[in-house]
């Protein structure tokens, strides 16, 4: 039995895909600028492209999470969303705030705080929007028949994500304080509460796809989110090494950051183990690829490549270089980009009633985007390591070093083209599915009842 109100998820996913395309376009603008072709500079200067690129990332992921929540919560709580109309209004206002912010970035309307460039007045609209979203989710959960661990972990992640937005809105005169609390938002989001959201979505997908008993999956979900918080909260210390706070963070950050990959490793092993344990074979192979893929790539990108530069002795040299961009790309892709795409791949056939899940195009989309992103990560890594040696150890001028490493951005662009082709195919499939229908949802008792 499915729920008609789940349809709203589709429009969040559609919005998400639109922003993903834009994010990629602005990524290309930056890559070409690094290669020496910054012809758009008078219209879209690098700092504009950069703010748009990272903010669109955050918003398309959040929109994907919200869509996933609107799909998961009715099914888990066994109750229709309490106010579907409000959910649509929430999506439209989210889009309006997003568009205003992005346009503003082209006209110097922003505040230059990495990842949190949205100006304060718009911040309040974001807060109102997220509160509306949480209101719908929490009321549905409260009125619903069941409160499962999966839905609680997911909701807890969403509530904390909203709460943690607030420290980023306080003004500090002191740059060190500003930076300190900015990481409460950014780090505790991506290496904390977003992992709850990811864990919740992953657990839901594994329950549906592998058919393994819910109790087993949810038990391990607790262990994984436990490991995430135990390592991740104090792991915030790796952002505090060199910003003007004490040496204690070198020790605390160093040790707990080294534990952070464990949470991701646990997640990867868990997903693989559940897949092997599962007796029923769900026909949606593409959703399965993305689900296992997100668990594995997040371990490599967020876990291992993070560890590659969180030791204080290493970070002293890599801090503020392209090495960070190397880690950032595969981490966000593996942990958050892929889980959203996994969820879309799983839910679209149920929403639209069309079972297109063994198409070659879908398989190709998975492999091209993943191999492309891996290639981009390698290109950033090579450029970053060369930069670290030439600039930080040999002491060459920044500009001279950038000339030396320019060629790696050519490789980056080639790999990014491959990645984009994969995403293009994914979106082509998305469009081919068409729009959701009530009949499809009611009929979708299917394999994963």
């Amino acid at each position: 039995m499915k729920y008609k109100s789940q349809k709203v998820a589709y429009w969040f996913f559609a919005f998400s895909m639109l922003l993903l395309i834009l994010q990629i376009i602005y990524g290309f603008i930056m890559a070409f600028a690094h290669l020496g072709y910054d012809n758009l500079h008078p219209v879209i200067a690098f700092n504009t492209a950069r703010a748009v690129h990272t903010n669109l990332l955050v918003v398309w992921l959040l929109s994907g999470f919200m869509g996933a929540a609107y799909y998961i919560i009715p099914e888990e709580a066994e109750y229709e969303l309490v106010n579907v109309k409000l959910a649509y209004i929430q999506l439209i206002t989210l889009a309006l705030v997003g568009v205003t912010a992005v346009i503003g970035y082209h006209f110097n309307y922003w505040e230059g705080r990495k990842f949190l460039e949205i100006p304060r007045p718009l911040d309040w609209l974001v807060v109102a929007n997220v509160l509306t979203f949480l209101g719908i989710i929490l009321t549905t959960l409260f009125k619903g028949k069941k409160r499962t661990t999966t839905s609680l972990v997911l909701t807890m992640g969403l509530v904390f994500a909203a709460l943690l937005y607030l420290p980023g809105m306080i003004w500090f005169d002191n740059q060190t304080m500003d930076s300190f609390f900015r990481w409460w938002v950014v780090h505790l989001w991506v290496e904390g509460v977003w992992e709850l959201i990811m864990g919740g979505i992953l657990a839901f997908l594994l329950i549906k796809i592998t058919g393994v008993d819910r109790e087993v999956i949810e038990k391990w979900l607790y262990v994984i989110v436990g490991l995430t918080f135990i390592s991740g909260i104090l792991g915030t210390g790796h952002h505090y090494y060199y910003i003007g706070v004490g040496k204690v963070w070198l020790i605390v950050g160093g040790i707990f950051s080294a534990l952070e990959p464990l949470a991701f490793l646990a997640m990867a092993l868990f997903a693989i183990a559940m897949y092997r344990k599962g007796e029923k074979k769900h026909p949606n192979k593409i959703a399965l690829s993305w689900t296992l893929g997100t668990a594995i790539v997040s371990f490599v990108g967020a876990g291992l490549l993070g560890l590659a530069h969180t030791l204080p002795q290493v970070n002293m040299y890599t801090h503020g270089t392209l090495v960070t961009a190397m880690h950032g790309h595969l981490a966000f892709w593996g942990a958050y980009g892929m889980i959203v795409l996994a969820f879309i791949s799983y839910s679209l056939p149920n929403l639209t009633g069309r079972k297109l899940y063994d198409s070659n195009r879908g398989v190709l989309a998975f492999w091209l985007s993943n191999i492309g992103m891996l290639g981009m990560t390698v290109a950033f890594g090579v450029a970053g390591v060369a930069q670290v040696y030439l600039e930080r150890r040999v002491g060459l001028e920044f500009g001279d070093v950038q000339k030396e490493i320019q060629v790696h951005f050519l490789i980056l662009i080639i790999c990014a083209t491959m990645f984009t082709t994969g995403i293009g195919l994914f979106i082509a499939e998305f469009i081919r599915y068409g729009q959701p229908t009530d009949e499809a949802l009611i009929a979708a008792t299917d394999h994963d009842a």
Partner: protein, 141 residues
């Protein structure tokens, strides 16, 4: 074998304990270390004005400061020491587009006052005790 309720206790307990430690360490850093390490007595109105201009123009969208920002343009934590006031002011006040080593910077055409504010901000930044960051190039002959 671990039961689901034990796993839940592990999650809630572990989170609570680490979060309390995190709050304690943060409190200690912010109340005791930051005022000393950042020389808060030198945090003048001019420095704060400079920070406003810094943020208003999203300088972090190309540069890094305290190692944070984007990687398109130079690290500016020690720029005051490296280039001096005059150089920085020219970069901020010029109205003609310029491209140091082929990479374009926005020609802000700032007023003398605004440029001085940013310089004051960067000078203050340069004096923060950053545990040895940015590192001295150890292979430089």
């Amino acid at each position: 074998m671990l039961s689901k309720s034990q796993a839940k206790v592990f999650f809630l307990g572990g989170t609570m304990v680490t979060f309390v430690i995190f709050l304690g360490l943060s409190w200690n850093s912010l109340s005791k270390e930051v005022p000393k390490r950042t020389h808060e007595e030198n945090l003048t109105a001019q420095v704060v004005a400079g920070k406003h201009i810094w943020e208003k123009n999203n300088c972090m969208g190309c540069h890094t400061i305290l190692g944070e920002g984007a990687y398109y343009a130079p690290e500016l934590t020690k720029v005051y020491e490296r280039r001096g006031e005059a150089y920085i002011k020219v970069a901020l006040m010029t109205k003609t587009p310029w491209q140091p080593r082929g990479r374009q910077m926005v020609a802000y055409g700032m007023s003398d006052k605004d440029a001085s504010d940013v310089v004051a901000f960067l000078k203050w930044i340069g004096e923060i005790d950053l545990n040895g960051f940015p590192p001295k190039p150890d292979l430089k002959k």
